[in-house]
Symmetry: C2
DNA sequence: CGGTCGTTTGATTACGATCAAACGAAGTGG
DNA sequence: CCACTTCGTTTGATCGTAATCAAACGACCG
């Protein structure tokens, strides 16, 4: 179960805790690309865990502009952010087709109360999400287009490798250039130009959606990327 | 104790929980403006609660640019974000002079484990912080200068009123225009021009650091402000 | 009274947005 | 199997918002 793996990365759970986690009532559903897991303004009664495929979190402004807030990989308990709040302040949609486990919201709270170790593990999980939100504020607020894109490509690379979904800084970017643009606060036109330029400079190589970071050191440098904010146990990351 | 008040706003705690919270070991210290509560890269051994005065959270990029990530009011448990993570990924400094309670980090975790209701309450508190981070990503990523500034002025107004530190959309802005600029991803020069324009249009009135939102409806409109993300119990906010 | 810090205003620049259009790949239906 | 659509990518031309550079001003402080 990817769910348990995720939590054990950061917290030590006892055998009983592990069983309680696996015993959570849930319903697995296949969701197609673009399928909504939760909508801004909803009063959610469930909490979603992505089992396979990718999901993304976003908000739409009054002007109709979209800002992507996070990308979620298989194994992410994507909706702990809403699990204890009454009404959702953002949308979560599938980026690709995938399987999603829906856990009743109350079961989450009860589990946290009944088994504090699990509660703390879930809390930590959401704190890491927070750390990523903070880094995105910095990315979008204080870095130029080139750095923003390098930064996010480094982040994706590292997170995908950590999840065992990529190797050697090579991965399939699970989103269109327009969605990427909405994640870094730029237009898709400009993202396209910057990507081309990065290829020309030999920092990355692309083939359709596939990305290879050719020169990690330089990418991390221009993207001002330091993985500390991802809070992986294994230190010694660039 | 403002600490308890804060949590009770969102979670119902029993009498014993309340006592356990008050019994947390802590040390109160007076901190001057600019004093650091935590530094990026530190391995914190304490967790800070602001008793009086304002604090802010920020990060510095490799280029030396600063991005303010959040503003914290008296009563905010400002460092729950770091309490369960090993090394801090950002700085927290006092904006004004103020009193700060330092609670040993381990005491927080132990309390969360021993009294799950408090653990959940603290978790909820950090989830609300997350919601604000998300809104800031949107603010900085997808709104123009005018809207960004209106939005953040509305947010401050509402949070200060909720904390009983302001009334009638009038408050003392606890930061310089440069710090405000670093919060919205602009330069201080541009912030200054936008503020002047907002005054001229009659949206706000200013007198040194004092701000009065003259026309809340229009401010909320141009700032695309909807307080849902603040997750206050009392609905019916604009 | 000079010195520092924050605010204000002006002139110029540049980064990324916008507008526009072509192209390629994948999917659909005749 | 080939028109035809749709969606995403790519490139070009022009525009505009906010950055940058520069300097003056006001308030507070030692």
């Amino acid at each position: 179960m990817p769910m348990v793996r995720k939590f054990e990365r950061r917290a030590r759970l006892g055998e009983e805790d592990r069983e309680a986690l696996l015993a959570l009532p849930h319903q697995v559903r296949q969701v197609r690309p673009g399928g909504h897991l939760i909508r801004d303004g909803d009063r959610p009664d469930h909490c979603c865990l992505v089992l396979s495929g990718f999901a993304y979190r976003h908000k739409i402004t009054g002007e109709g502009a979209r800002q992507v807030l996070s990308l979620h990989l298989p194994g992410d308990f994507v909706d702990l952010q809403n699990s204890l709040l009454d009404v959702s302040d953002h949308n979560v949609q599938m980026l690709t087709e995938g399987e999603v486990a829906f856990v009743p919201r109350e079961a989450i709270r009860e589990l946290a109360l009944a088994r504090p170790a699990i509660g703390v593990a879930m809390w930590v999980d959401t704190l890491v999400d927070s750390a990523i939100f903070r880094e995105w504020v910095v990315n979008v607020g204080r870095r130029d287009a080139r750095a923003r894109i390098c930064h996010i490509l480094c982040e994706f690379s590292m997170r995908l490798e950590e999840a065992g979904l990529a190797e050697n800084h090579r991965y399939e970017l699970p989103m269109t250039q327009e969605q990427l643009a909405d994640a870094v606060g730029l237009t898709s036109v400009h993202v396209n130009r910057v990507l081309r330029q990065l290829s020309e400079e030999g920092l990355i190589r692309r083939n359709k959606r596939a990305i290879v970071i050719e020169d990690w050191a330089r990418m991390a440098d221009v993207g001002d990327f330091n993985s500390r904010y991802l809070h992986y146990r294994t230190h010694a990351h660039a």
